[in-house]
């Protein structure tokens, strides 16, 4: 069973002029396989910084603390090594890669993660199956990665990767943003299929409680001013729904 341990994590964003602007002010969080943690907070609280700094985006600089996955120092690894170690980040704004087909991209990623090329015999079926489950047209595989995708298509494509790559820890950054209710349901079902395996731990970052009606979190953390200010079970999400973040903002 895998465990992601985040201890006193402090992160700054690198500004264009080279200055550092502190964002995360000491985050402590433990995510185990089979668990789903929701991180909720207002805009600008540092939720996405947490996601991207764990994945290793070069825009962020770690100024203190540690992140380990099953005891391995994640912060020492390059972006691709982190992914191969079992981390996955579903992005809020997936990037277009012109001229690279979804099929080619997915096969390349699967090969990198597994350390060997998927078996030709079974891969086509696996890919088709993953696309069907997310209600994606087969022609999708021949389109260029994220190029001209609608908001819903981009998110379904992210969750399709989650299902195919089977990470140990998955961070979903505002996966619910820009989705209509049907797409939200399809995407949530995909996440739930992976949860049911019990082999992946989830960090679900969201601003709204809407997605939590479809993906029931085990733990809810309220994120304000670059750190966790309140923790609880699913009932905390309901309180936030009713009361909003104001109370936490004044305290922070």
């Amino acid at each position: 069973m895998s465990t992601l341990e985040i201890r006193d994590l402090q992160v700054s964003v690198k500004l264009p002029e080279g200055e550092l602007k502190p964002i995360l002010a000491g985050v402590d969080l433990t995510v185990k396989a089979g668990e789903t943690h929701a991180i909720m907070g207002p805009n600008g609280s540092g939720k996405s910084t947490l996601a991207y700094s764990i994945a290793g985006h070069p825009k962020y600089e770690i100024t203190g603390g540690s992140v380990t996955l099953d005891g391995v120092d994640v912060l020492e690894l390059s972006v691709d090594e982190r992914a191969r170690a079992g981390l996955f980040l579903a992005m809020q704004y997936p990037v277009e890669v012109p001229g690279v087909s979804v099929a080619n991209f997915l096969r390349t990623a699967k090969t990198a993660i597994d350390g060997e090329a998927p078996k030709l015999r079974t891969w086509a079926g696996e890919l088709r199956g993953a696309m069907e489950k997310l209600q994606m047209d087969p022609a999708f595989a021949q389109r260029n990665v994220n190029e001209g995708f609608s908001g819903g298509e981009k998110k379904r494509h992210e969750i399709m990767q989650l299902e195919l790559l089977k990470p140990k820890i998955a961070i979903l950054d505002e996966t619910d943003s820009g989705l209509d209710i049907d797409a939200l349901r399809v995407v949530s079902e995909g996440v739930n299929r992976v949860r049911e395996t019990g082999e992946t731990g989830f960090l679900l970052i969201t601003h709204y409680t809407r997605i939590l009606r479809y993906i029931k979190p085990d733990f809810v953390h309220v994120f304000v001013g670059g750190k966790i200010v309140e923790e609880g079970g699913p009932e905390l999400a309901e309180r936030l729904e009713a009361e909003g973040y104001e109370k936490f903002l004044t305290r922070a």
């Binding site: 994945a55 290793g56 985006h57 070069p58 390059s78 972006v79 691709d80 982190r82 992914a83 191969r84 996955f88 980040l89 992005m91 997936p94 990037v95 277009e96 890669v97 012109p98 001229g99 690279v100 080619n104 991209f105 390349t108 990623a109 990198a112 993660i113 260029n144 990767q161 790559l165």
Partner: protein, 375 residues
């Protein structure tokens, strides 16, 4: 108040044209047409008044039915040279290689002709491609080896004919070439020129297009990749003088290494008579490392307001770090992620080549260049 319109000077339609090199003034590098070109590296092509070296040798296997290759002493010219080096090539070429596709022929396979440079003194060459009316063919000219070469290629695409013309400059690293490709497009004819430049020390290719009847369609696709020290220059002049013709120019280049230099200058001229013209030109450059330089200049000269479409675009940028992050966040190592992005950048162009084997080879050649540079 005057109602008389004052026409702006139409530079592109008034350039000096001559078959005689002596009619052109000596080049000093300050001319608009030559200002990006390092003249010294053109060797004798700049100063000579005749070239006596051996032209690249011509090699080909079985040609598909309907395609013939022959020698001729002379052919009625389609191109009247409009620069000194092109005139020099015209005057010095010992004969003409004639590639002909018979009228109404539709060869199933591409005709592949290799031009192999064997080094030696500066040389001149002339190639004439004639595609008969209603024919439909693919011709590949693969240029390899070592040369100092000035050459002209004239292409006549007959009425309602369709030609895919692929020219590959895969010269050795020390080669120097100044080439002119002239496309004459017939009524309702369609030509797709795919110009690939990977090799050479200095390669300068000028492509010009003219139309002889309505409904002509010319697509110019270019792919180039310059490594440290290489100069690759591509210029086009599409001359719309006939109504209702179309042109589409799209060149893409990648650059890596110190003083890799590429130049793209796209000129489109829409004359007063050419109503209903539809034209678009775009150049994109991907700068992979520091120290490389891409010049990109689109020009559009329009003498009539009655066009169907006229646009141009140019964009030169560095490697997109967000693309790299996205791919690496899926476990793909950096070197492989870069290969994917660069291959993707060229995919649209490579897919214009209707020869699968060649598409694959070019994709691999581009990847190999990335690996060699370790970028």
């Amino acid at each position: 108040m005057t109602t008389e319109a004052i026409a702006p000077p139409s530079t592109k339609s008034q350039v000096l044209r001559s078959f005689d090199v002596a009619d052109f003034p000596a080049l000093n590098g300050l001319e608009e047409e030559w200002r990006f070109t390092p003249l010294k590296r053109l060797r004798d092509l700049v100063t000579a008044t005749s070239l006596t070296g051996a032209a690249p040798s011509r090699e080909y296997g079985d040609l598909p039915a309907g395609v013939t290759v022959s020698d001729a002493d002379d052919v009625d010219p389609v191109l009247t040279p409009f620069d000194r080096v092109s005139a020099l090539a015209y005057g010095s070429a010992a004969g003409v290689t004639v590639i002909e596709v018979a009228a109404e022929a539709e060869p199933a396979e591409a005709a592949v002709i290799r031009l192999v440079g064997k080094g030696g003194d500066a040389a001149a060459a002339r190639t004439f491609v004639k595609v008969g009316n209603f024919a439909k063919a693919t011709i590949v000219l693969a240029q390899t080896g070592s040369v100092t070469l000035a050459d002209n290629i004239e292409v006549v695409v007959g009425d309602s004919a369709q030609l895919t013309f692929v020219t590959l400059a895969e010269w050795d690293r020390d080669a120097v070439q100044a080439q002119h490709v002239k496309l004459r497009v017939g009524k309702d004819a369609r030509v797709q020129h795919v110009q690939v430049t990977l090799g050479g020390d200095l390669v300068r290719q000028f492509t010009s297009v003219e139309y002889t009847g309505r409904g002509g369609d010319a697509e110019l696709w270019g792919l180039y990749f310059a490594d440290a020290g290489q100069h690759q220059e591509h210029r086009q002049l599409v001359d719309h003088s006939v109504p209702d013709c179309r042109s589409h120019v799209a060149y893409r280049g990648a650059l890596q290494g110190a003083s890799a230099h590429t130049v793209w200058v796209g000129d489109v001229l829409i004359r007063a008579a050419a109503t209903g013209t539809d034209t678009y030109e775009i150049n994109r450059n991907l700068i992979l490392t520091d120290g490389a330089r891409a010049d990109s200049v689109p020009n559009l000269e329009i003498e009539t307001g009655e066009v169907a479409g006229a646009g141009h675009a140019s964009a030169t940028g560095r490697f997109d770090d967000e693309q790299l992050f996205y791919l690496m966040a899926r476990g793909i190592p950096e070197a492989e992620a870069r290969k994917l992005v660069v291959r993707g950048f060229f995919a649209e162009l490579i897919n214009k080549i209707p020869v699968g084997e060649l598409r694959e080879r070019l994709g691999d050649a581009i990847e190999a260049r990335l690996v060699e540079a370790g970028s």
